[in-house]
């Protein structure tokens, strides 16, 4: 199982920012999702996030209050204590061993000391893959690569491997959409077939690979087709 260290922290003057992030997220410009991480004040917590590009990430995180042993006068310019929100990022739920989290913390502290020394000018640190214990019941390996397609959140191939026999969330949604489409098609066929002598156009069930787009309340003058209509047209 593979994991990547991450760190979110604030400086004495500057606000919270991502200071350490997985190399593959940085390369894809998708590491901003880590700004959403909220760690419990004590102990290790798990967070599931979906990035702007559609990556599904599992994060094991914790907070650490910076001490004078690491930084002299560990307070920000407003007199508040400094803390690190750190941990490991994976593509399946992680259950890191204490020494694995400790290693991530050590890496974070080193990066943080460097950041504080040159606050504002410190570059983002890219963390490399490392072996991490997976949560029970997870498959042994996962591909670290991002979804190849642009950010289509629902209906795109799942970024996370799903255990056999357990449908993923997107699978369930896709199934529900397909069922709804089939039901709608059936109702349409029934209504259309009742008593009309005219030949009916065959009604084909259409399964779109995206969420239904909300219908705009008004059409912008000059536009031939609203966006929803365009999406439907692509689906055929």
């Amino acid at each position: 199982m593979t994991g990547w260290a991450f760190l979110v922290a604030r400086g004495r003057r500057s606000g919270y920012r991502v200071l350490v992030a997985p190399d593959f997220l940085v390369a894809a410009g998708d590491h901003g999702v880590l700004e959403q991480v909220v760690a419990a004040p004590e102990g290790t917590s798990s967070v599931q996030l979906t990035s702007a590009a559609g990556r599904r990430l599992s994060i094991a995180c914790a907070t650490y209050r910076v001490t004078p042993a690491e930084v002299s006068d560990p307070r920000d310019e407003h007199g508040r204590p400094l803390r690190l929100i750190y941990g490991l990022v994976g593509t399946v739920p992680l259950d890191p061993a204490p020494e694995q989290l400790a290693a991530a913390l050590a890496e974070s502290v080193a990066a943080y000391q460097h950041f504080l020394a040159a606050e504002g000018d410190s570059p983002l640190v890219r963390s490399a893959a490392r072996p991490v214990r997976a949560a029970a019941g997870q498959p042994a390996a996962t591909p670290p690569e991002a979804p190849a397609s642009p950010p289509v959140r629902v209906g795109s191939p799942p970024a996370v491997a799903t255990p056999p026999g357990v449908p993923g969330k997107s699978g369930v949604r896709l199934g529900a959409l397909a069922a709804a489409a089939l039901l709608a098609a059936g109702v349409t066929v029934l209504v259309a077939a009742r008593g009309s002598g005219e030949p009916q156009r065959p009604v084909l069930p259409v399964v779109c690979s995206a969420l239904p787009t909300p219908t705009p309340s008004r059409t912008i003058p000059g536009r031939s087709k609203p966006p929803a209509a365009k999406k439907a047209a692509r689906c055929r």
Binding site: V8, R10, S14, G15, Y16, R17, V18, A21, L25, G29, D30, H31, G32, V33, L34, E35, Q36, V37, V38, S51, A52, A53, D73, R75, D76, E77, H78, G79, R80, P81, R83, I85, L124, V191, A192, R194, G195, S196
Partner: protein, 432 residues
Amino acid sequence: MNGVLCLGIGQDTVKFLVPAAAFGALARWVRSRRARRRPVGERELREVPEFRVVALGPQGAGKTLLLASMYHHLQTPSGGHYYLTAPYDQVIQLNKWFAEVADPGRDWPYGTASGETREFTFEVTTRVDGEPRALLRLGYLEYAGELLTEPQAPGSTVQADLFARVEAASALIGIIDGNRVRQVLAGDSDGLWRLQQALTAMIAPMMRVSSPVTFVITKWDLLAGLHPDENIRLGMVRNLLMSNQGFRDLVRTHSAYRVVRLVPVSAVGPTFARLDASGLVTKRPDGQVRPTNIDIPLSAVVPDVFEQVERSLDEATRRAVLDQVRRQSQLTPRQALRALGAFVGQRAGGTLLGTLGMRGLGALAGDLAVGLFLDSRAATPTRAELLDQRLGEAERRLRQFHLARRTVLRELQSRVDVLEGRLPSSRLSGEL
């Protein structure tokens, strides 16, 4: 081919649509019959209008302390007629923050991280017939200050979410770090640059919307040494802020139709914190929390939204609205409800409703929003109104509710008026 077929609908579909329309009409009739049987004013008692508030301010300005102290102060009536309630999980979080703030032996709470953005929902509650009843709801957004001042990492969506909420807000609170102001007035050039940066970051989104703004000077206790007279002290701060072009433009350009205030606040009070040798704010070992003006920023929300609504009405509409207020106060609750419904259908009522909708009250049913506004313009309940014995139970309940609401709306207004009387420099709109 008949007209229906011209629209591209088959005859069989018509066979289906006609009974469906008949069924719909029947359902509406049944609903209206049921509504008539409901006790008078039940909807008014059940549906609570919400005002969304966003406090804009840079990191370290004191947003979290302000929120925690504000809730702590307002969670009991403290001699007034209303208090705030919140869902239990939020109460626990707010009390935890306040405990961290108020304990001299503990450090200040950590700064808020971007992922810790969350919305609090407060209900302005009063007692009607001995029972607690929510009159208004105030949504209050708590977020990390750097979302306002610093660019976000690629792929982050939290900043966009914040600005969307600013645009949908009924009222804005601009948080200005009083310690930063102190640094500037002491001649600190770095402090000046950073104050300008913070103001610029706040003013830009404020210029895009037209909701009322209350600027709050936090850490007011640290400015006590500026001048013994509080109003003169506030005047010095006001002059400093007005020297910033963006701030001045916001106040001058918008003051004709927008309420802008400047309220000095201390979340901890005058004897709790001090500056240490390195200039950092620390707690005094024997400090006790006694907040200053902590209730004003939230108390001002509803009066300022409604004042702005009234100011944006044309003279004829305004007169018609005030006439309606007078008329309503002479009617029984049932008659008043009927009159309110008729008023909303008239030109003046429709104009008022449209203006209220622009102030974020659009989600509320039209007559309820208008009814709330009319109550805010009504006089203090008279003894005769309070003791009216001729009413049935449902009407009496509704009357008590309206009177309690009027009392609370007057009290909110009076808290703001008292501050303005004590500190005339706190009113920025009208500045020329």
